[in-house]
């Protein structure tokens, strides 16, 4: 079996989650890699939607930015940015939103705005972009993020995009119509919201990773699922497709 990196496991697992998906809203970076890999492996019909306007983009290599020319040139259609958000994201037309995060809390709320105080920030991050409405309105959200105590925090400094708010019933109270984050895929394993409490729970470990490692990489007292499972390692085909994609 070919050796692989933790990031490769993460990306392959993300791609697998798009097996039965019609349309996916893609953020730049890890989400874009995962979604493009899915289109080359498990789901050639997968519709990739990017916030700069491309619907059904089929990029020949990984775009560096969200509005690269190759996205528009290979798209089934192009929408204006207002149309993307108003006609495509807002009505819940897109099944899965694929997001990254700078900080994430136990209810999968995402911070990409600021570390520290908003008025006197320790680190100013880029901000919201398209994420808040993707997180609110896509059918469900899959988050791809490397797991570390700096990223997985007890409480995010700023809620840029709502995951499960303060827990059970929060999304309903806030009038958010999508299901919210259903999976957080990391370089160590997979977290899913507990069906009752909505707290993120470790359900899968990637091969070779221990539960202790995952708990140490988490800034809160991470709960483990009763039937904690091991992720299937990447197949030869998956790895080959991923490496070709990254090299293109």
């Amino acid at each position: 079996m070919t050796a692989y990196e933790a990031d490769e496991m993460m990306t392959v697992e993300a791609a697998r989650r798009l097996r039965d998906t019609t349309a996916c809203f893609v953020g730049i970076g890890l989400p874009s890699t995962g979604a493009n890999l899915a289109r080359r492996t498990h789901n050639p019909d997968l519709v990739l939607v990017y916030e700069a306007g491309a619907i059904g983009a089929k990029p020949p290599s990984l775009p560096l930015s969200i509005g690269d020319g190759m996205l528009g040139e290979t798209a089934d259609t192009i929408a204006s940015v207002p149309e993307i958000f108003n006609y495509w994201v807002q009505p819940g037309r897109i099944e899965i939103g694929f997001l990254g995060a700078a900080q994430l809390d136990r209810y999968a709320n995402i911070n990409t705005t600021v570390v520290g105080d908003y008025a006197n920030p320790k680190v100013r991050l880029p901000g919201a972009g398209g994420a808040p409405e993707i997180a609110a309105s896509c059918g469900e959200v899959v988050i791809i993020v490397r797991q570390s105590p700096r990223a997985f925090v007890e409480q995010v400094d700023f809620i840029t995009s709502v995951g499960h708010g303060d827990g059970a019933g929060a999304r309903e109270r806030l009038g958010l119509r999508g299901k919210g984050p259903t999976k957080v895929i990391t370089d160590l394993g997979i977290l899913e919201p507990d069906p009752e409490t909505r707290e993120l729970t470790l359900t899968h470990l990637h091969p070779g990773v221990t539960a202790e490692q995952a708990r140490e990489a988490t800034g809160w007292d991470l709960k483990l699922a009763d039937d904690l499972q091991t992720t299937e390692p990447p197949t030869e085909e998956e790895l080959k497709a991923l490496r070709e994609l990254l090299a293109a």
Binding site: I28, E51, A52, G53, A54, L64, S65, I66, G67, D68, G69, L71, G72, E73, T77, I78, S80, V81, P82, I84, F85, N86, V89, Q90, T113, Y118, A119, N120, P121, K122, V123, R124, L125, P126, G127, A128, G129, G130, A131, P132, E133, A136, S137, F158, I159, T160, S161, V162, G165, A170, R171, L174, G175, L176, R177
Partner: protein
């Protein structure tokens, strides 16, 4: 009444239309960013501007670093695919730049309201996020039919809208194509507009996903080949990813940035 856009050099358009203290939007979502026009604002030492842009990227880093901006209205401030905008980040962390922060959907709807002659737009958004605590231009609104709570955002009050397009004809009809973001709304939503173009041609022909802004809604057209570099202009040149990465180096260090500014 104005029947045709005036075709002038960029320096004249900026001198005539942009005043200190104006609210100015330079738009272009990755594609067709009006970089040359932004740098002309720097050269003419415009001050106290309220700068508006969904994705302030390196041209806004330059404008902020050069001291043109009093305030920034935006939704995502980064160097796409590279990392931070260091002049922007430094200014915010030092409390030297007032910010009004939205999501992309909020900003897009604010442009739509401006282009529509409405004082506000309605959307689903911001519920449960921390943005409304810090941004006063996000309010709740009730549907008069269903009672549902939604979100209202106000129109942008733009003095000048600046975009870059591929082409214009000699009457000032402007054409851009490919991913065209919020550029139509930027021109239609502003009191005055400047459009830099790759070239002025005798006649426009059809292009896929083309936006045409007719001569009578554009104030100035300026021929500035390469005016979107290092971003790209579909059909003319590709994005210069090396320049985006190189900017990280320059903007990270105040002394290097000052040298860049001096040389501009």
């Amino acid at each position: 009444m104005r029947t045709h856009a005036e075709i002038t050099p960029l320096a004249d358009a900026v001198a005539d239309l942009v005043r200190d203290g104006d609210t100015v939007a330079l738009e272009g979502f990755t594609h067709l960013i009006p970089v040359a026009a932004g740098q002309e604002l720097i050269r003419q030492r415009k001050r106290d501007l309220t700068l508006v842009r969904m994705t302030p990227d390196i041209v806004y880093d330059q404008l902020i670093g050069a001291g043109c901006a009093r305030k920034l209205i935006f939704s995502w401030g980064g160097n796409p695919g590279v990392g931070s905008l260091h002049r922007f980040r430094a200014a915010v962390q030092a409390g030297e730049l007032e910010i009004e922060e939205h999501s992309h959907a909020g900003m897009a709807n604010r442009y739509v309201a401006s282009a529509s002659g409405l004082p506000f737009a309605v959307m689903r958004g911001y519920n449960g996020t921390s943005l409304p605590e810090h941004t006063s231009t996000i309010k709740s609104i009730t549907c008069p039919f269903t009672g549902e709570q939604l979100t209202a955002v106000p129109a942008l009050d733009l003095d000048v809208g600046i975009i870059h397009a591929q082409r214009a004809d000699r009457d000032g009809n402007v054409q851009l194509w490919g991913q065209t973001g919020v550029q139509k709304e930027t021109v239609l939503g502003a009191k005055r507009s400047i459009v830099t173009v790759e070239e002025i041609v005798d006649e426009l022909d059809d292009k896929p996903y083309s936006v045409v802004l007719p001569r009578w809604v554009v104030t100035r057209v300026c021929e500035v080949p390469g005016g979107a570099k290092p971003s790209y202009a579909q059909g003319y040149y590709d994005r210069d990813n090396v320049a985006y990465k190189a900017w990280d180096e320059i903007s990270r260090d105040k002394a290097q940035f000052d040298a860049w500014l001096e040389a501009l």
